[in-house]
């Protein structure tokens, strides 16, 4: 059994998603059970190229073969089709409507039943599948190894909409999005409930989410070109660095500053950039707990 560090990067995406392939050092192919048809010993991953193929259901037979990214797309497509009920996760995540999860592409893996949240490139192609798992007692969204971080919510993005809300994490974005879909603003700036999809705030506003507050790539800039951007990051408190024994600025504030700076200095910058200030005078509010976010604000009394 090879140790974790000995496993080649090329087969890590498959193992991460629970595909049972056996890797032996020196062999060209890692062979195992097909995650789609269940044929034992018929699914192989090429260690050098990361391309996979099932010799029974012909997954990967198409032109160019099935690489790790195509595998994620196929896994998501099949899992999305097979996911029947979202109620449990919607309740746990304190969302109002299970359909919100469906709209954001959340689905249950057909391989092992773990909830997955897709991440997209700026052009809307699915590039990442985050798995919703428990690590050391905490719920976490873990990215597929070697596939990088990608944005959430790009599948719902429309160029025609003038505003973009950028949240920290997909759950915040979903909680905000489902309310924006059912609310409109009058001329005085007061919000009212509406059932009209054409007049709701979401008709003019996109909601996107970065996977973490410090993650922001240049390749995402085109989604914010000429838009009114609202950066809605968490209420992180400053923390003491045990090493230096100095107070350090909150991670969310540093992430905000970084994203705002990148956006403002883009070749084609947004029309305006605003941010969510939690406190009276500062970005964070010490009265609220550290890590308090939009979802907490919207969903807890």
């Amino acid at each position: 059994m090879p140790s974790k560090s000995e496993i080649p990067d090329t087969i890590k995406p498959y193992l991460f998603h629970g595909v049972e392939v056996q890797y032996r050092a020196g062999e060209k192919e890692a062979v195992g059970t097909c995650p789609f048809c269940g044929a034992e010993g018929k699914f192989s991953v090429n260690v050098a190229t990361s391309k996979c193929r099932c010799w029974v259901c012909d997954c990967g037979k198409e032109k160019g073969g099935c690489n790790a990214q195509s595998f994620l797309q196929q896994l998501w497509t099949r899992s999305d089709e097979m996911t029947a009920t979202y109620t449990d996760l919607a309740t746990e995540r304190r969302l109002l409507y299970p359909d919100t999860l469906m709209a954001w592409g959340v689905c249950k893996s057909t391989v092992d039943g773990v909830w997955m949240v897709p991440g997209y490139a700026a052009d809307g192609t699915l590039r990442q599948l985050y798995r919703w798992v428990t690590v050391k007692g905490k719920h976490k969204l873990l990215p597929t190894p070697t596939m990088g971080h990608h944005l959430h919510g790009v599948n719902l993005y429309s160029k025609q909409k003038d505003e973009v809300f950028l949240c920290e994490g997909p759950w915040d974005a979903m909680a905000l999005w489902e309310v924006l879909c059912r609310v409109k603003m009058d001329s005085q700036g007061t919000l009212h409930e509406t059932a009209s999809q054409d007049h709701c705030w979401a008709a003019t506003a996109n909601v996107l989410a970065v996977p973490g507050c410090m993650t922001f790539f240049d390749s995402w800039l085109k989604l914010f070109r000429g838009k009114t951007v609202y950066l809605c990051y968490d209420n992180d408190h400053p923390r003491m660095n045990p090493k230096t024994e100095r107070m350090e600025p909150p991670a969310a504030l540093r992430g905000l500053q970084r994203a705002a700076s990148i956006l403002a200095h883009a070749k084609e910058p947004p029309e305006s950039i605003s941010y969510l200030r939690w406190g009276e005078a500062e970005q964070f509010d010490l009265q609220r707990p550290s890590g308090y976010d939009i979802r907490d604000l919207l969903t807890t009394p």
Binding site: T91, L96, E193, Y230, A260, Y275, R277, L297
Partner: protein, 467 residues
């Protein structure tokens, strides 16, 4: 990984959420101008005559080694050798202001193995790092004739020393330095500067004394840099080897990534700023490295004081220092009167400093096994060469030893060269000669073997290779 268990929670009604959203909208404010100035500064010109270039990259804040390495993993095929080299280079940077023997590092690797990328990344930080590809020397006796020429009547200091005071000098291509006609002078001046003082006098009546010059030097290049060792000027440096040889599989993997990157990069247009000369992930990794340098330098004094080095670690450093002192000793080119090696005191001091600084770089509170593994690796990298090769072969044969001819054959070296080295090693008590008994009253040809103290030291440094 366990599936996240789902808890039932009561849902807050839509009306209450809309009210909360109203409060949220009130909190949306335009971002302060101060946030945007940071990047504006990065794109502005920085040509203030101090020799820095126009297109500078801005450092990004970073205080975690893990975060830094994650960004490098995104940017390039991150090998253990690169990780080791970056950590050692950062340890050298962190040690700059600490009192004691300075940590000067030679980073050695084959061409195109990533040395220059690491150097450029560290050089993103202009506050604590000075990057110079070529230097003509550390001192300058240059004197302008009159104040009108802007020199203040010969009072302006044109030496490199004021610029590198308190900084890390990064020379990304040390091989070109080897071609410099001034090499001996540069190394001699560097040797003088090592103990933080330097005094010169020139024939144009200029004289300059410097004291308290703390600087570290990262000298990168191919194996040719080892020639500095044999010039008897190189013993200020510790060595760090990025890649031993070229591993075929690893090379294929790297080449595949490089081909893909080259393919992708054709679609990216570079601008005038330094950041746009690299692909975004690499630029970010370099900027974070620059930021991490700031973190290390700003917190070094306090953090290094809090890092504990257990007695076992100290003992290991003394053994490693002594081992390096023996293994990098060479016969003198300049005299044949006395064979001598350096005293290991400086090396021990450097290894202890390296251990603590590495622990700081790796965000550890004490020097643990992982840190000592890296320190040992540096010691072995520094020890490499003919002496170590001879010692390793002799150690392998134990008490029996080897004849010089056999050793020359094993090392694929000339017999005379090996005999010279063996005589030198005998003089510094690394080897000893004995004549084995072939039969009663008949002795065989003389053989060399390691002295018992060297064998013991060898066993301490290579515990698994005890014969």
């Amino acid at each position: 990984m366990p599936v996240a268990p789902l808890k039932k929670r009561p849902a807050r009604p839509l009306a209450a959420r809309i009210a909360a959203l109203q409060a949220l909208v009130r909190g949306l404010l335009p971002v302060p101008d101060a946030w945007l100035k940071t990047a504006a500064k990065a794109s502005s010109k920085n040509n203030d005559g101090d020799g820095t270039d126009d297109g500078t990259m801005e450092c990004l804040p970073c205080n975690s080694y893990r975060e830094l390495i994650m960004s490098w993993r995104k940017a390039m095929r991150w090998t253990d050798g690169l990780d080791h080299a970056l950590a050692v280079m950062l340890a050298s940077v962190a040690s700059t202001k600490a009192v004691g023997d300075q940590l000067w590092i030679k980073v050695i690797g084959p061409a195109a193995c990533g040395k220059s990328t690491l150097c450029e990344a560290i050089s993103v930080n202009h506050e604590y790092v000075l990057a110079k590809s070529t230097i003509r020397g550390f001192h300058s006796g240059y004197k302008l004739d009159s104040p009108e020429e802007g020199g203040g009547g010969g009072e302006q200091d044109h030496s490199l020393i004021p610029q590198i005071r308190g900084k890390t000098l990064v020379t990304k291509d040390g091989d070109t330095l080897l071609q410099s006609p001034n090499l001996s002078q540069i190394l001699a001046e560097a040797r003088d500067l090592y103990d933080s003082t330097s005094r010169t006098h020139y024939r144009n009546a200029m004289s300059k004394d410097y004291s308290g010059v703390r600087m570290t030097w990262l000298l990168c290049g191919t194996s040719s840099l080892r020639s500095i060792d044999s010039s008897e000027l190189g013993e200020r440096f510790l060595d760090c080897v990025i890649m031993d040889g070229i591993d075929d599989d690893l090379e294929d993997e790297i080449l595949w990534r490089v081909a893909n990157r080259a393919d992708r990069n054709l679609a990216l247009e570079s601008g005038t700023d330094a950041a746009s000369q690299h692909e975004p992930a690499l630029a970010e990794a370099m900027q974070l490295t620059g930021g991490y340098v700031t973190f290390l330098r700003e917190n070094a004094s306090k953090a290094l004081a809090g890092i504990t080095l257990p007695d076992t670690g100290k003992h290991q450093c003394t053994r490693l220092g002594k081992f390096v002192a023996f293994m990098r000793a060479r016969p003198s080119y300049h005299q044949e009167e006395v064979a001598e090696r350096e005293l290991a005191a400086r090396l021990v001091s450097q290894h202890v400093r390296l251990a603590k600084c590495l622990a700081f770089v790796l965000n550890k509170n004490e020097v643990d096994a992982e840190v000592m593994r890296r320190v040992r690796q540096v010691a072995l990298d520094t020890s490499r060469g003919q002496t170590l090769a001879i010692a390793a072969h002799l150690h392998g044969t134990g008490d029996i030893g080897l004849e010089p001819t056999s050793l020359a054959h094993l090392l694929t070296k000339e017999d005379s060269r090996v005999r010279t080295l063996l005589r030198f090693l005998k003089a510094i008590h690394v080897t000893e000669v004995y004549q084995p008994k072939v039969s009663k009253g008949v002795k065989g040809r003389p053989r060399y073997r390691l002295t018992s103290k060297l064998r013991k030291l060898f066993d301490e440094v290579f515990p698994q290779s005890t014969t």
